[in-house]
Amino acid sequence: MFYYLALAAMLFSIGLFGVLTRRNTIGILMSLELMFNAANINFVAFNKFIVTDGLTGQIFAMFIIAVAAAEAALGLAIVLLIYRNWRGIDTEHYNVMKW
């Protein structure tokens, strides 16, 4: 049990690191997926070890997968827009608005 949760925590941290540091926007999207997956692992692990009745955890995880997919699709659409506007998807491009 603990190991699953620890695995999830590590995965989450790595994903977090990716989101925070990648300069490639798609890289950020991928790191986000890692974070969602960490949550999924948590849900499923809890479902197996703690919550004996029902499959809420798994179902939740499934919805998360679906939402993540939807977000990924939309995110990639926006990435395309970025590419069209700047001819590149480096995060350094889009920090015009500040302060």
Binding site: T25, F46, E71, I82
Partner: protein
Amino acid sequence: MDFPFPEYNLQYMLPEIFLFVWALVVISFDLLSKRNNGSTTGYLTLFGIAIAGLLLGLVGNGKGFGKMFINDNVAVFFKVIFLGAAFMAVGSSFGVMQKKIVNHRGEFYALLLMSTTGMMFLSSSQELLSIYLGLELTTIPLFAMAAFYKDDKLSVESGIKYFIIGAFSSALMVYGMSFLYGLTGSTDLAQMKVAFFKTHLQFGDMGIVMILALIMLAAGIGFKLALPPFHQWAPDVYEGAPTPVAAFLSVGSKGAGLIAFAKIFVDGLYAYHSPDMAPNDWGMLIGILAIAAMVLGNVLAIRQTNIKRMLAYSSIAQAGYIMIGMVALSASGIASVGFYLFIYLFANMGAFAAVAVFEDMTGSCQIKSYAGLARTSPFFSAVMAVFLLSLAGIPPLAGFLAKYYVFASVVDVAQRSADSSWMYWMVGIGLLTTVFALFYYANVIKVMFFSPETSPYKVEAPLPAKAVLAIGVIGVLLFGLYPEPILQFATGISSSLHFMP
């Protein structure tokens, strides 16, 4: 294991269903009419929202899909606000539609309607999963709408920023939710509440992870509320996004965050902070966030030159004021939150609508472009001034009453409970920041009215925008002088949430 089919009771979710269907209708109409139908799509959307409002008035309180959907006082109250926000956002979007979003009107309105559906669904949810889905359904269309000026770098930038931060915080939230699930064994808020009362979940070994979970959740919802320290996206997004979207964000998204917050933290986890835990601990955390919001929002707004950005910071600050009502954790506190949001709807949507109108005409969002506007468009300037003064909380406009109610509910709690002197400090700081707030609100008024030169522009608003402005002004004035119905309505909220009086 048997699986009884729950009673669907679809009638209770008629407005949501209608709205979703209407979104499809709108997009189909737009596609079929070759996209050259003038403003018809917009009017169609307005009509749909009005119908949904009507339906909302017709359906009563009740449950559907077992525990998944519940139409209670809170839900109805917030749904009214969401529909209102949608209505006013659509109303102020006609100019944008004419000029900038020519080809995707149907999509735009459909997304807006779907986002509204998400918000309404959220208001009716009683369970973590549906809260999560509701929040996502609220946000995902907004990601797209923020980036809707596809050739405008600022808009795209705001879209991607909104997207990254939104997805990031939703990841945080989900991760937090998973712990909550693990700790309580349920995603149902009511069951969670029961679980907290179980002895092994008292402040002991569970407490620490609980805190982690709650913080994750708070980050997710704080993002929606644009509550510091989760606020930084807001100014950038507001500035870049199409103005009606920013307007919708400022009220709709905020309302969604609020209802989620209320459901999880105030209602669902009420047990968590009431019996043995130091009672002020939790409230104090919200209080600190609220103070941070008020101070940051108001202070940062002062130096802004772009009016949308300024309004963004102002809305951060307003979130702080709203959260003060939450800190009270009392019936009147939650009622004051509702009332505040209701008034905020009129004032803020009105202000954004005015900004949108002006932007459509001049293409500028700079405050200095408003110089001397009072001479050429006195009526418009006066309306704008009314909105800003209401946001600043100057009586007899409704904004003042909202602030008064919020602060009153905190003082009420503060003087009743021992060891709550920090609440007075919070009230003090909050009120103090209203003075700073006046500084930038008045600045816009100053630019419009005091400037010696005459503006080259004469504002001509399209009819729906005029209607939105009128609704805003009437709301702000009327509910400032005769707030009783809304107050009653808002007081009704607390009967649905589980408070000690």
